[in-house]
């Protein structure tokens, strides 16, 4: 702001000195030596104006950095508060886009648009103030259009908004379409459709061009109007002063005679009067972009938590009993997942729950963890309703294996310490050995420092499952919640993993979700989840070989 004012002041001084020198040279015929001080002042003004520009940019950058850093931090905390169940409902990839790209989209608004907004009002006022003492006519040529400035701002805003949103959307859709097809190329090739679709790429491009141009032709008009007024102001000033100098006009100068100095001064300032407004127009897309991004970020910040609030009660030591009492749960109105569903797991008992994919098995575990709130019924941990349980403390005592274990793009050690942040190296290695990754680990040149995940070493499906097992081993858990722990494993590995689970379950409460037969042998009881409620299964662990699919009964 201050820098902007300095910039304008330097501009005004620059115009006055330049006019003075030109006047002295041309009209008064003074020798150049006498004008040296004014001539050097011009250079000083140019430099000061540029320096003030740097300061102004710097201030904008700093504000924008502070805002983006803070917004990202708030978003991360909000996501953590909302929890994994909420995340599951968001479109894949949309949250990381929000955290990275959409936060970045706030940049232009805070760095450029907002500072400019004030200058667009201040600068014209300062220029008029500079002109007014010498010529009210020159000032009023500018001032006549001044009441229109707010109108212009709206006009610029309207035009630019139309233009930018349309253009942004068109580009985004075009990129989206392109990305979609590139992702699909392997599939498209197998269908022999890849060459056919290159015409579609062309067609989509043409269509976007046509649609966008229709809007743009109109939207550019608002810019043109501003340009028109800026040009007219220069032209009018020139004509007015020219005629006055020739003696054909005689008003607006408080009775003083007009000289070239004043005329040139006014002429130099006329375009500067409109410059900030034009700048504002060019930065307007930053505002449109930021508004769109802010809108989407706001929906995250305002999202309602799906989790119960929790309380202060801590669960007693040892393996707890888990109870679901006549639970009704639906993700959206009309899509009931669980209805009147009850479950009782005694302390230290192992229960398997079977059911079709998408039948609500994972929802059961999320209810037990306090990551989802049931619409009806109650969840009890060791007899305490989950609403009064200290959730943070309770979750620390649970080991959870997700259906799709995930590798973080970090070192092996970091990938294990997700389960226990203070685990020492011997503990990590013990866990790896327990999960059958000992031999693999021995061959890693960088040991625990080996980078995994994107950009690092990839793991096969089986290895990933074992890593998840090592994580479970590291937890200081009293409860194991395992979601399809043997999905996508071949029979041999599956049996090996089940043996490890049998070891782990000792002294702990276990709830295991599966649609496969083999894991049933480690549990005490099998329940079927059908139509939203649980029933005791006929496929009890004892007679599991009766199952049609278990002809290859585990060794």
């Amino acid at each position: 702001m201050v820098a902007g004012v300095v910039q304008t002041t330097a501009t005004i001084l620059f115009a006055s000195q330049l006019a003075k020198v030109l006047h002295a040279l041309i009209i008064a015929g003074q020798p150049f030596d006498a004008l040296q001080p004014a001539w050097w002042t011009i250079l000083a003004c140019i430099v000061v104006r540029a320096l003030a520009g740097i300061v102004r940019d710097e201030a904008g950058i700093r504000i924008s950095l502070a805002v983006r850093g803070a917004v990202r931090e708030t978003l991360l905390d909000t996501l953590h508060r909302l929890g994994p169940a909420w995340r599951e409902r968001q479109q894949a990839g949309s949250l990381s886009t929000a955290l990275l790209e959409q936060v970045e989209a706030l940049d232009g608004y805070f760095a450029r648009y907002r500072p400019q907004q004030w200058l667009a009002i201040l600068t014209p006022l300062m220029i008029v103030a500079a002109l007014l003492p010498s010529s009210w006519a020159a000032a009023s040529i500018l001032l006549l259009t001044a009441p229109l400035i707010p109108v212009f701002m709206v006009l610029v805003g309207w035009g630019a908004r139309q233009r930018q949103t349309e253009q942004l959307q068109a580009l985004r859709r075009m990129s989206g379409h392109f990305l979609d097809l590139i992702r699909g190329l392997p599939s498209l090739r197998l269908l022999d459709a890849h060459m056919r679709l290159s015409d579609e790429v062309e067609k989509v491009g043409d269509e976007f061009r046509w649609r966008t141009m229709r809007v743009l032709r109109l939207a550019f008009l608002s810019g043109a109007v501003l340009e028109f007024f800026a040009s007219i102001a220069v032209a009018l000033s020139a004509v007015y002063f020219g005629l006055t100098l020739l003696g054909r006009l005689d008003f607006g100068l408080y009775g003083h005679p007009l000289d070239l100095e004043l005329a040139l001064f006014a002429l130099l300032l006329a375009p500067e009067f409109y410059q900030p407004l034009r700048d504002l127009g060019t930065h307007y897309h930053a505002r449109a972009e930021a508004l769109a991004a802010a809108g989407e970020l706001q929906t995250i910040l305002d999202a309602e938590s799906l989790q119960p609030a929790g309380g202060e009660t801590r669960i007693g030591d040892g393996a707890p009993a888990l109870t679901l009492d006549r639970i009704t749960f639906s993700h959206r109105a009309g899509e009931t997942v669980l209805s009147g569903c009850s479950l009782q797991v005694r302390a230290g008992e192992a229960v398997a729950i079977r059911g079709p994919s998408g039948g609500g098995k994972t929802t059961l575990l999320r209810l037990l963890l306090g990551q989802l709130r049931a619409q009806e019924g109650s969840v009890l941990i060791n007899g305490s309703p989950i609403d009064i349980v200290d959730l943070e403390n309770w979750r620390e005592r649970v080991a959870w294996m997700s259906q799709h274990p995930r590798l973080m793009a970090d070192t092996l050690a970091a990938n294990l310490r997700v389960a226990r942040s203070d685990a020492g190296e011997p503990e990590l290695m013990e866990a790896l050995a327990f999960a059958g990754l000992g031999a693999w680990f021995e061959n890693l040149p960088d040991g625990l420092g080996t980078c995994l995940g994107e950009g690092g070493r990839q793991l096969s499906g089986g290895q990933l499952r074992r890593l998840a097992l090592a994580r479970v081993r590291l937890r200081r858990a009293d409860v194991l919640l395992l979601d399809e722990p043997t999905a996508s494993l071949d029979a041999e590995t599956e049996n090996w993993v089940i043996d490890r689970i049998a070891e782990l379950r000792q002294g702990r409460t276990l709830v295991l979700l599966t649609h496969r037969a083999a894991p049933l042998r480690v549990v005490d009881r099998v329940l079927d989840l059908k139509d939203g409620s649980l029933t005791a299964s006929d496929a009890s662990p004892a007679n599991q070989t009766d199952d049609l699919l278990c002809a290859w009964s585990p060794a």
Binding site: S96, F178, R209, S421, E454
Partner: protein
């Protein structure tokens, strides 16, 4: 990468105009007219005022002064500037949009011939995202850099002509401006942006992976507060670091912008001093003196827009380089343009040798013979080469040794069209296009009737009516198939493969994610449907060997 390499990387994109050349040339012309209007307005106004002031000194000259010509000129330039600006914007945008579409079509056609491994390298999704970002970055090449640079140079040339006529002694000043526009400013932008660029790219990638871990790893972090605290701290540190780098690059751009303003201002300032010092004999008259100084001042409008583009130049060049690197690869398995037609759906694999790289051999002397019409179950542990075999049979990869024959014809002799018609395949990579369900099915067969589509959909258990999709075949499928679950997407892919109606069908893990009952049903329906045609069913699970003619274990 030095400046010359950067230019080399950009060159193919500079010369590729995709039919937008005329539009851009017209836009360029109009842009120059706009700038001339601007320069003319200020220059003529200055000259007019000065002339009037000189004439106004005595009443006689004042009466004789022709103010109509300059007055009309001033108004003309004012109108010219406004009108040209509007038309220029419309024309330039028209041209740019054509250019964008052309760039994408060109890139798509190139990519379509590459194997999946050549496109995505080993990094998968992020490579593709970056590719799209790179294309977006190249979009700016013409409208932000090339066109403004050319028009600035041409306009400075016009200013130069004015100088050449009036004060040839000072011709070097417009020449200096031209030099600033072309080599100096881009070079400075290059130097200031280059050193920060690798750090910025790396910083962004690091931040992205950490943010992704925060989001995707939420299941784990939700259970362990201290692990989350660590992750949060590290992620925010990366965020700060990256923002800091951006701050430095923003600062450099600000300095460059200021330097450009000072340079133009100093030119006008210097010109003023030098004009004043000239001996009276060659010194231009008063109006010209004012006009020349004003002309130089107005030049900043042509130069300033270039600064931003100049700072982004290293980034744009890097984007061009990455796209060149991907697009310039020769298609790895190269197909013959026209080949023989296989006689039947039999497959012969003899002494097959293949390795992804030197350390991971997959096949060394693998043999397999499949009769036409045979239904084969391919089993084996994960990583045993089942999916690799799929890639070899569909010729996404070529073996290092041995031979594969389909219907008696070696795979390498088939043209791509014939091979695809002969072999329908669902790989592990399943994808749905952002379009309607019907459009997705028509990818397999553009002429498929509604009955055919409904038939295959209900066969794979994806009958739109039973799924509760009110729009039926017109149900909209979202980008990347997000609105479909993994299992649904896979079944859609199977439906497409069945529509191909090929003599050979290969299904890689088609029942992944299905519960056992649905799995058995799916196997029964597909084997019935494909009776008499060759079927290869790949699965790591056991228990349904009876449904197939033969079971083969693949273990390298």
């Amino acid at each position: 990468m030095n400046f010359i390499d950067g230019f080399r990387a950009l060159r193919p994109f500079i010369t590729r105009l995709s039919g937008a050349g005329n539009w851009l040339a017209l836009g360029l012309l109009l842009g120059i007219l706009t700038l001339i209007g601007n320069l003319g307005l200020l220059g003529l106004s200055g000259a007019f005022l000065t002339g009037a002031a000189i004439a106004g000194l005595t009443p006689t000259t004042a009466a004789l002064f022709n103010f109509f010509m300059p007055g009309a000129g001033v108004r003309f330039f004012a109108m010219q500037r406004t009108l040209c600006r509007w038309v220029e914007r419309v024309v330039t945008h028209e041209g740019t949009f054509r250019l964008l579409a052309g760039l994408r079509v060109w890139l798509y056609r190139h990519l379509a011939q590459l194997s999946p491994r050549q496109i995505a390298g080993h990094h998968g999704g992020e490579t593709l995202n970056r590719l799209v970002r790179d294309v977006d970055a190249l979009d700016n090449l013409y409208p932000r850099l090339i066109m403004p640079a050319i028009s600035a140079i041409l306009v400075f040339g016009c200013v130069g002509v004015a100088f050449a006529f009036v004060v040839p002694a000072l011709l070097w000043i417009p020449v200096l401006l031209i030099l600033i526009a072309l080599p100096v400013l881009p070079l400075l932008g290059w130097l200031s942006g280059k050193s920060l660029l690798p750090g910025q790219v790396h910083g962004r990638a690091l931040l992205r992976t950490h943010l992704l871990d925060c989001v995707e790893g939420m299941d784990d972090f939700s259970l362990h507060t201290r692990a989350w605290a660590d992750q949060r701290q590290v992620t925010l540190a990366h965020s700060r670091h990256w923002l800091g780098l951006q701050c430095r690059s923003g600062r450099r751009a600000a300095v460059l912008r200021a330097a450009t303003t000072v340079a133009v201002g100093a030119c006008a300032w210097g010109a003023l001093g030098l004009l004043a010092e000239l001996p009276a004999s060659i010194r231009p008259e008063g109006p010209w003196l004012a006009a020349l100084v004003f002309l130089l001042l107005a030049c900043s409008e042509a130069l300033l827009p270039l600064v931003g583009a100049a700072v982004d130049l290293p980034g744009t060049a890097a984007a061009a380089q990455r796209i060149n690197a991907i697009a310039s690869q020769p298609p790895a398995p190269r197909f013959v343009p026209r080949g023989p037609t296989p006689s039947d759906g039999g497959i012969e694999i003899h002494d097959l040798r293949f390795a992804w790289d030197r350390h991971t051999p997959v096949f060394s002397g693998f043999n397999l013979s499949i009769r036409p019409g045979e239904h084969l179950l391919l089993q084996g542990a994960s990583g045993g080469g089942k999916s690799t075999l799929t890639q070899l049979l569909t010729r996404f990869e070529d073996p290092q040794g041995g031979i594969i024959r389909i219907g008696g014809v070696p795979l390498a002799d088939l043209d791509e069209h014939t091979l695809r018609r002969q072999v329908a395949c669902v790989g592990q990579h399943t994808w749905a296009k952002t379009a309607t369900l019907a459009d997705n099915l028509r990818l397999a067969d553009p002429a498929a009737s509604e009955e055919q589509m409904r038939e295959v959909l209900s066969l794979v258990g994806l009958d739109p009516d039973k799924q509760g999709w009110a729009q039926g075949l017109e149900t909209w499928i979202e980008e990347g198939g997000v609105s479909l679950s993994g299992g649904q997407r896979r079944r859609l892919a199977i439906a497409r493969a069945l529509l191909r109606d090929a003599p050979i069908t290969i299904l890689d893990e088609p029942s992944e994610g299905l519960d056992p009952d649905s799995e058995v049903t799916l196997i029964a329906r597909i084997t019935t449907r494909l009776h008499g045609k060759t079927l290869i069913w790949i699965s790591h699970r056991e228990g349904f060997e009876a449904a197939f003619d033969r079971t083969v274990l693949v273990e390298g």
